[in-house]
C-alpha cells in the first residue's frame, strides 16, 4: 500500500498530467531521441523541481518519503506518453539499489544529488549468461589491499549511456561457503562504457570492468546481502514496468479504436468488422488483466507472502498482454502501423522491450512456479 497520503499523490499526478500535456509531443520526442544524450535534460531538471525524482526516497535525502507503489501512477502516465527520460533506470533501479543497500554514507552523499537531478546512478546487473536471473553471474570482486578489484562484463545496462554512476553486482569469494553477490558503486569514468541507442528510443550500454580497483567505501552491501537487494529492486522495477506497460497499452488501444472508426474499406469503417471488434475487445481484456493484476499486487505489496511470486506473475502478464496489444495494434493499423512516422510502432517497440527486459515469460513462469 502506498506510503504517501492521497492528497500528495493526487497533486503529483496532476503535475505529471499537466507537464506531459504541455511538453510531451511525439514529434518533438523524436528530436530528443535522435541526438545525445537521448533525452531532454531540461525535462530532467523539471522532474527534480516537481519532486518526482524524490518520490520514493527518504525525506532526509531530500525525497518525499513515498515507496515504490507511489511511483506507479507516474509510470503509467509516462507509459501513455512514451516518455524516454530514464526514470525507471535512475530512480527505480540505481537509486533504489543505493537506498536499500547497507552503505549509509554512499546513500547520504549520492541520493540528495539524484533527487536534485544531478547524479544519475543506474543498475548494472545483467550479463550475457543471465537470461533474467540476477544470481547467475560471472563478474567478480576480489579483495585487494584496502579495497576490491572488479572484473567482468555487464550487458543491456538500460540508461547506461547517460549514467554518472553504476551500481554493479559481482561475486565475492570471502566465505568458505562459496561465492556470494555484493553490490559496488562505481563512477562512470572508472570503467569502459560502450553506449548505444535501443530500438525503443531509449539508451543502453555494455560495461567492461577490466581490473577496476575501488576502495572499501564503494562496497554497498555486506554479508552477501547484494542478492537480496538486487531481487527486491528488480521486483519493484517490474511493478514500475508493468505500470508503464498499462499506460502504453491504454494509448495503443485508444489509437486503434480511433483509427478503425476512421479508416474505411469496402465502403465502411473497418471498426464495423466483427473480427476486428473482437480483436479490440481482446486487447482491452489483455490490458485490463495487467492493470488489475498490478493494482492487486501493489495493494498487498507490504503484506504479500511472496514478492517473488507476485512479481513473477506480473512480469509474465506484462509479457503476454504487451505482446498481444502491441502486435494487434500494428495489425489493425495495417501498413501505416509499420512506419516509423506513426507513434503506434514506437509504442509496440516499447512494449516489446518491456517484455524482454528483466527476464522473459518463460523465466518468470518458472520463477512463479518455484514460489507458488
Amino acid at each position: 500500500m502506498a506510503f504517501l497520503n492521497d492528497d500528495t499523490r493526487v497533486m503529483l499526478e496532476d503535475s505529471v498530467d499537466k507537464f506531459l500535456n504541455a511538453h510531451y509531443d511525439f514529434h518533438q520526442r523524436r528530436t530528443w531521441v535522435e541526438k545525445a544524450p537521448g533525452y531532454n535534460r531540461e525535462h530532467w531538471q523539471r522532474f527534480a523541481e516537481l519532486g518526482w525524482l524524490g518520490l520514493p526516497f527518504a525525506e532526509r535525502h531530500g525525497g518525499l518519503g513515498g515507496d515504490i507503489t507511489d511511483t506507479l501512477g507516474l509510470m503509467r502516465r509516462f507509459g501513455a506518453a512514451l516518455v524516454v527520460e530514464p526514470y525507471l533506470s535512475v530512480v527505480g533501479l540505481g537509486g533504489q539499489a543505493i537506498a536499500q543497500a547497507d552503505n549509509q554514507d554512499a546513500a547520504d552523499s549520492l541520493l540528495p544529488e539524484l533527487v536534485a537531478g544531478q547524479a544519475m546512478p543506474v543498475l548494472a546487473w545483467e550479463e550475457s549468461i543471465s537470461r533474467g536471473n540476477p544470481e547467475h553471474l560471472a563478474a567478480s570482486a576480489r579483495r585487494i589491499d584496502g579495497g576490491w578489484r572488479l572484473e567482468g562484463e555487464k550487458v543491456a545496462v538500460i540508461g547506461g549511456d547517460l549514467a554518472t554512476h553504476f551500481v554493479v553486482s559481482a561475486q565475492t569469494f570471502e566465505d568458505d561457503a562459496g561465492p556470494v553477490v555484493e553490490l559496488f558503486l562505481l563512477q562512470a569514468d572508472e570503467l569502459e562504457v560502450a553506449g548505444f541507442p535501443t530500438m525503443d528510443g531509449h539508451r543502453g550500454a555494455r560495461l567492461t570492468l577490466a581490473a577496476v580497483d575501488v576502495d572499501e567505501a564503494r562496497r554497498l552491501t555486506r554479508d552477501g546481502h547484494g542478492a537480496g537487494v538486487l531481487r527486491q529492486v528488480l521486483e519493484q522495477g517490474i511493478m514500475m514496468m508493468a505500470a508503464e506497460g498499462v499506460g502504453a497499452m491504454q494509448t495503443l488501444l485508444r489509437r486503434t479504436l480511433d483509427y478503425t472508426r476512421t479508416r474505411r474499406q469496402f465502403g465502411v469503417p473497418i471498426a464495423s468488422f466483427q473480427v476486428l471488434q473482437h480483436r479490440m475487445v481482446d486487447m482491452y481484456i489483455a490490458m485490463k488483466n495487467l492493470e488489475h493484476l498490478l493494482e492487486a499486487t501493489a495493494n498487498r505489496w507490504d503484506q504479500s507472502p511472496s514478492h517473488a511470486r507476485d512479481s513473477a506473475l506480473l512480469k509474465a502478464q506484462l509479457c503476454q498482454s504487451g505482446r498481444y496489444v502491441g502486435q494487434q495494434a500494428v495489425q489493425l493499423h495495417g501498413g501505416i502501423g509499420m512506419t516509423d512516422e506513426l507513434d503506434v510502432g514506437h509504442y509496440f517497440k516499447r512494449l516489446t522491450a518491456l517484455g524482454l527486459l528483466f527476464g522473459d515469460e518463460n523465466y518468470h513462469l518458472k520463477r512463479a512456479w518455484a514460489a507458488l
Binding site: 471498426a271 471488434q277 473482437h278 481484456i285 493484476l293 492487486a296 499486487t297 513462469l365 512463479a368 512456479w369
Partner: protein, 401 residues
C-alpha cells in the same frame, strides 16, 4: 451488524461445527460429484433445507425475508467454509434469481406466497428464458400468453430449463404484446404449479449422459392473471434487474478455480510422467499450470476491482462481460488440463459411479471420475448465459461507442 475479528473467529468455528455435524456423507458426495454448475438435485435440496433449519439458507437476503443478517465478512467466511467442507452450492434459481426479483417487484401477496418456500427449499423454481429459436437473442422470443377472461393462455416452448423435471414452480418470460420494440411486449410470469394441463417437461440428455436441462412445452396452458410479476409488458425491466442482481451477487470464480488448481497440483505430484518421474516435475506441465495460475490471479484481481465498483458505473457492464469471458475460458482450460492429466482412464463412461448414493465404486482412480463429465459439460460455459461471442459484442459496443 458490526463484527470484529474475535467475533469472526467464533463465527467461523460455529459454521465449521455446523458443517461437520450436518453435512453428511451423501451431501458431501454430492459436492464431490458436481460436474457442472449445478449440483446433484436431491442432496442439494436436502442440504438447502438443513441450512434453512439453522436460518442460513438465504445468506444474502434481507432479514425480513429470512436472511441471517450477516456482514460481508461473515458471508465470505461462510462461503469459504462451504468450499472447505466440500458441500454443494445451493441452486441459484430461487435464492439468487426469482427471489430477489419478487422482493423488488412483487405484490405483498406474491411475497408472502412465494418467498418462504424459496428460503426453506420446499419449492424449486425452474427458469424459462431461452427458446429454441432465441438463444442469446432474448428480444426475439416467441412463447406467448393471451388474456382470456380471468386467466392467461400460454402457448410455445422454452428450452435449456435447468432441472425443470425436478421443479414444482417456474418463472418465465412470455410475449404478451406485439406492439412497440420487441422487448417491450414481454412479461415476467410466476407459475405456481407445473402440473397444469397442457404443460409438458422433457429432459434433455447432455454430453455426459445425464439429464440436466429440459424442454418445456406449453399447449394452451392456463394461468391466473395475478401470475404476472411487475406490470404486464414490463417483464424486460424485471429481467434486466435480475441480470444485474445475479452479476453483483455471484460468488468468486477465482476462489473456486483456485481450489481446482490446488487439487490438480496435488494430483500431479502423484501421477507418473511416463518416464519414471512424476508429472509435477515436468517443466512443460509446470508452465501450463502456472499460466493457468496466472489467469486465475488476474481474474481474482478483476473480481476484486468489480466488487469495489459502484453498481451502474459505466465500466461495470463491460467488466461483468469481461469476467464472464475470462472466467469461462479459464474454467474450460482448467477442465482440459485435468482431462489430459488423468489421461485415458477418463474415457470410461461411469454413469452409475457418478450417481450420488448409488454406492458404485469408480472404475479406475477416484480422482479421474468427474474430470471428463466436467470437461464435456463446461463446453457450455461459453455458450449459456450469453455466449462469449455476445459478451465480446457487448464490450465492443462500449469501446466503440
Amino acid at each position: 451488524m458490526e463484527t470484529n475479528s474475535v467475533d469472526l473467529q467464533v463465527f467461523r468455528q460455529e459454521v465449521r461445527a455446523f458443517m461437520e455435524q450436518e453435512a453428511d456423507e451423501s451431501i458431501r458426495e454430492a459436492g464431490r460429484k458436481m460436474t457442472s454448475f449445478f449440483p446433484p438435485f436431491d442432496q442439494c435440496m436436502r442440504w438447502h433445507r438443513k441450512l434453512h433449519a439453522r436460518g442460513w439458507s438465504a445468506a444474502s437476503w434481507p432479514e425480513q425475508y429470512g436472511g441471517p443478517g450477516w456482514s460481508r465478512e461473515q458471508k465470505r467466511i461462510f462461503e469459504e467454509e462451504c468450499r472447505v467442507a466440500g458441500v454443494p452450492r445451493l441452486l441459484p434459481q430461487g435464492l439468487g434469481m426469482v427471489g430477489p426479483a419478487i422482493m423488488k417487484f412483487g405484490t405483498d401477496e406474491q411475497k408472502s406466497r412465494f418467498l418462504p418456500g424459496i428460503a426453506s427449499g420446499e419449492d424449486f423454481w425452474a427458469q424459462g428464458y431461452s427458446e429454441p429459436n432465441a438463444g442469446s437473442d432474448l428480444a426475439s422470443l416467441a412463447c406467448r400468453a393471451e388474456r382470456h377472461g380471468d386467466h392467461y393462455v400460454i402457448n410455445g416452448s422454452k428450452t435449456w430449463t435447468t432441472y425443470a423435471h425436478h421443479a414444482n414452480r417456474m418463472f418465465l418470460l412470455v410475449r404478451t404484446s406485439n406492439e412497440g420494440k420487441p422487448q417491450q411486449g414481454i412479461s415476467f410470469f410466476l407459475i405456481d404449479r407445473l402440473d397444469r394441463p397442457g404443460l409438458e417437461i422433457r429432459p434433455i440428455i447432455g454430453l455426459d449422459g445425464f439429464p440436466e436441462q429440459c424442454d418445456v412445452f406449453f399447449d394452451n396452458v392456463e394461468v391466473p392473471l395475478d401470475c404476472c410479476l411487475g406490470e404486464e409488458n414490463q417483464g424486460w425491466t424485471v429481467a434486466k434487474y435480475l441480470l444485474e442482481h445475479e452479476r453483483g451477487g455471484s460468488a468468486s470464480f477465482a476462489a473456486q478455480f483456485d481450489m481446482e488448481l490446488n487439487r490438480i497440483r496435488e494430483r500431479a505430484a502423484e501421477l507418473g510422467d511416463g518416464f519414471g518421474g512424476v508429472l509435477s516435475d515436468d517443466p512443460v506441465f509446470r508452465q501450463r499450470f502456472t499460466r493457468l495460475y496466472l489467469e486465475v490471479a488476474a481474474l481474482d484481481a478483476t473480481e476484486s476491482r468489480f466488487a469495489a465498483m459502484e453498481k451502474g458505473s459505466p465500466e461495470s457492464g463491460p467488466m461483468s462481460s469481461m469476467i464472464k469471458i475470462t472466467a469461462m475460458e479459464t474454467l474450460q482450460r482448467i477442465t482440459e488440463l485435468a482431462v489430459e492429466m488423468e489421461g485415458s482412464p477418463t474415457l470410461t463412461l461411469q454413469l452409475a459411479a457418478l450417481t450420488v448414493g448409488a454406492g458404485v465404486a469408480p472404475e479406475g482412480p477416484e480422482q479421474a471420475l468427474t474430470v471428463m463429465p466436467k470437461y464435456l459439460n463446461n463446453r457450455a460455459a461459453t455458450i449459456f448465459g450469453g455466449s462469449n461471442e455476445i459478451q465480446r459484442n457487448i464490450i465492443a459496443k462500449m469501446l466503440l461507442g
